[in-house]
């Protein structure tokens, strides 16, 4: 990354485009507090969390309270069913099992996969898995959701559905969403589009406010 500096507001959905090797995942892992930057500052929800490579907070605790992740492969835990995959994220954040279960069920209903709550990930379709992954990412009401190529393994119809899901989630849950994607097909769902090339970040286009 070279002098990358930008902001994402709560409720905003931002796309991050760019060819392979441009530095998109590097940026995402830095924001996700997984791979520290060499220099610079990361502030999330008004709280400075990284000063260069130096963490200013307990990163794991911060991740579980303020961040949510969605990946190209849903990365659901294979030995937990759909409900438990969401529930575990809540219990990790110290929710009681009863409350965690209730909230998990609400999220699955919100995302339209409640009827598959007792199914293991291996029996879910790609789109269903991604919905469960989004529910898990939303579990602790994060300030920021980071999605790395979430539609790469899906067909265009399902891919668009997932992108629209992000828009809905961002607007209704007031979470900022950053989506790294190669997929130009559903760019109209994003509030802002950034492009990364050779480690440099620049605006790609600004979508209309009605999209």
């Amino acid at each position: 990354m070279r002098d990358v500096s930008f902001q994402v507001r709560r409720g905003e959905v931002v796309a991050l485009l760019g060819p392979s090797g441009a530095g998109k995942s590097t940026l995402l892992t830095a924001i996700g507090l997984v791979n520290p930057p060499t220099s610079g500052r990361i502030t999330i929800s008004g709280c400075p969390v990284m000063d260069g490579p130096r963490p200013l907070v307990n990163l794991r605790a911060f991740r579980r309270k303020y961040l949510g992740f969605v990946f190209q492969k849903a990365n659901l835990i294979p030995f937990l069913n759909a409900l438990e995959n969401v529930q575990v994220a809540l219990e990790i954040n110290d929710a009681s099992p009863r409350k965690a279960r209730k909230r998990a069920l609400e999220l699955l209903e919100y995302l339209g996969v409640a009827d598959r709550s007792h199914s293991l990930p291996s029996t879910l379709s790609g789109g269903q898995q991604q919905r469960v992954a989004v529910a898990r990412a939303l579990a602790n009401n994060p300030s920021l959701i980071l999605a790395d190529e979430p539609t790469a393994a899906l067909d265009s119809h399902r891919g668009r559905q997932v992108m629209e899901l992000f828009r809905m989630v961002a607007h209704e849950h007031k979470a900022g969403v950053i989506v790294v994607t190669h997929d130009h097909r559903a760019l109209d769902v994003f509030d802002r589009i950034l492009e990364m090339e050779d480690g440099e970040l620049r605006p790609f286009a600004v979508a209309s406010s009605n999209s």
């Binding site: 995942s25 995402l28 892992t29 996700g32 997984v34 791979n35 794991r60 605790a61 911060f62 991740r63 579980r64 309270k65 961040l67 992740f69 990946f71 990365n75 835990i77 294979p78 030995f79 937990l80 438990e84 529930q87 575990v88 994220a89 219990e91 990790i92 954040n93 099992p97 293991l120 898990r136 790395d148």
Partner: protein, 402 residues
């Protein structure tokens, strides 16, 4: 929610198969301890039941169990005459092997001072005690004899009138109990041809000496019935068991008897130690094998848990990315290790209960052994999980993004 249980449920058949393997290994560890204990119990099976205070044996020997001892039977009267002695009983012990129904029958012949000792202290599971002075026997069930079986030993036939359980010698041979005269007759049974050869040898020796030529009547006597060794010779027993009168100090009685120059006296606890020392080498060997097996079990469990952790590395990275604390991940691995150990232990015990009775030697599993093994399994489970935990702690959350 319990992540360990859910992971196990997801791969239940693999977990169960692994537990069976661990269980079989632990069963062998348990069995080794049982054989180790069984050796001691076999060695002490008769000694513990006699409740003798003192044992009088041949001077300088560690008899009658750890070593052969031969003392005159009439020593019983001499010992009984000592002040403070309430009971003095002769005892015979020797091992023989004979053919019975076309199979070798190896037994430890024990002579009891009937009618004082008729076998009432023995653990009879069928039949009755010895009821007459000759031609009856009590047999341990390991000998494979049944009530009413007639066994030819020496020149006589003995009927099995009682069956015992758990009465075997240090070498694993079953005990057979006879009266003292019968046990001596069995021990000193001499074939007819040997008697005839000995008679002729005596005649021949006399003819070569002046004594034989000058007194021919000696040749007749040397070969006649009166010169047969059992008739003239002193009958020997293995030991005299002594019980002192109530209120009498056994040490005082022992001091008197040990002043005699032809015998050695042992207290019962010393006799016990001599017995255990006689099987010490076997016990040490088993102990070493058991230690090796425990180490091998620990290594195998560690490798299994490490492999189970490697299978979950991606999931562990995901948990870390979600912000799971280290203790959540440690608990996942440690609980699986403990469950594997517990299930293995339970299977070891269940399978062992079924299999051990078929072993040729006694496998004595005591509560102390079970508790000891449980603690060993607990320690193995915890230690073997450390490798998996170390691996889990080393995984980075960004591996999810790789």
């Amino acid at each position: 929610m319990n992540l360990a249980i859910r992971d196990i449920r997801h791969k239940l058949s693999r977990f169960l198969l692994t537990a069976v393997g661990i269980g079989l290994l632990l069963m062998i560890v348990m069995g080794m301890a049982g054989i180790y204990q069984g050796l001691s119990e076999d060695a002490l099976s008769f000694l513990e039941r006699t409740k003798a205070d003192l044992w009088v044996v041949q001077r300088g020997t560690r008899g009658p169990f750890a070593e052969i001892s031969r003392i005159p039977w009439n020593l019983e009267d001499r010992v009984y005459a000592v002040t403070g002695v309430a009971k003095a009983r002769a005892f015979v012990s020797h091992t023989i092997q004979r053919e019975y129904q076309s199979r070798p029958l190896r037994m430890v012949v024990q002579g009891l001072a009937w009618p004082q000792d008729d076998g009432n202290v023995l653990p009879l599971i069928a039949g009755r005690v010895l009821g007459q002075a000759h031609y009856e026997m009590l047999a341990d069930r390991t000998l494979g004899l049944r009530l009413g079986d007639r066994v030819s030993l020496g020149k006589d036939i003995y009927t099995v009138v009682g069956i015992t359980a758990g009465m075997t010698g240090p070498a694993g041979d079953g005990f057979a109990f006879f009266t003292i005269p019968d046990s001596i007759a069995i021990q000193y049974d001499t074939p007819g041809e040997a008697i005839r050869l000995e008679r002729e040898a005596r005649r021949s020796r006399l003819r070569r000496q002046d004594l034989g030529n000058t007194q021919p009547i000696l040749q007749e006597r040397a070969a006649g019935p009166a010169s047969q060794l059992p008739a003239l010779g002193t009958q020997n027993v293995s030991a005299i068991m002594v019980n002192v009168a109530p209120g009498v100090d056994p040490a005082r009685v022992a001091k008197v008897i040990s002043g005699w120059s032809d015998v050695t006296v042992y207290f019962n606890n010393v006799q016990r130690e001599l017995m255990l020392r006689s099987i010490e080498r076997n016990r040490k060997q088993l102990g070493m094998f058991r230690t090796l097996l425990v180490i091998i079990s620990a290594i195998i469990m560690a490798l299994i848990l490490y492999t189970l952790t490697l299978d979950k590395m991606h999931d562990i990275a995901m948990f870390k990315l979600m912000g799971a604390r280290n203790r959540t991940i440690v608990a996942l691995i440690l609980q699986q290790a403990l469950l594997l150990g517990a299930l293995g232990y339970a299977l070891a015990y269940s399978i062992g209960l079924w299999v051990f009775p078929f072993f040729p030697r006694r496998v004595a599993i005591t509560s102390a052994n079970l508790v000891q093994l449980a603690l060993i399994v607990l320690a193995i489970s915890v230690l073997s999980s450390l490798l998996g935990i170390w691996k889990a702690m080393s995984v980075q959350p960004n591996e999810i993004l790789a």
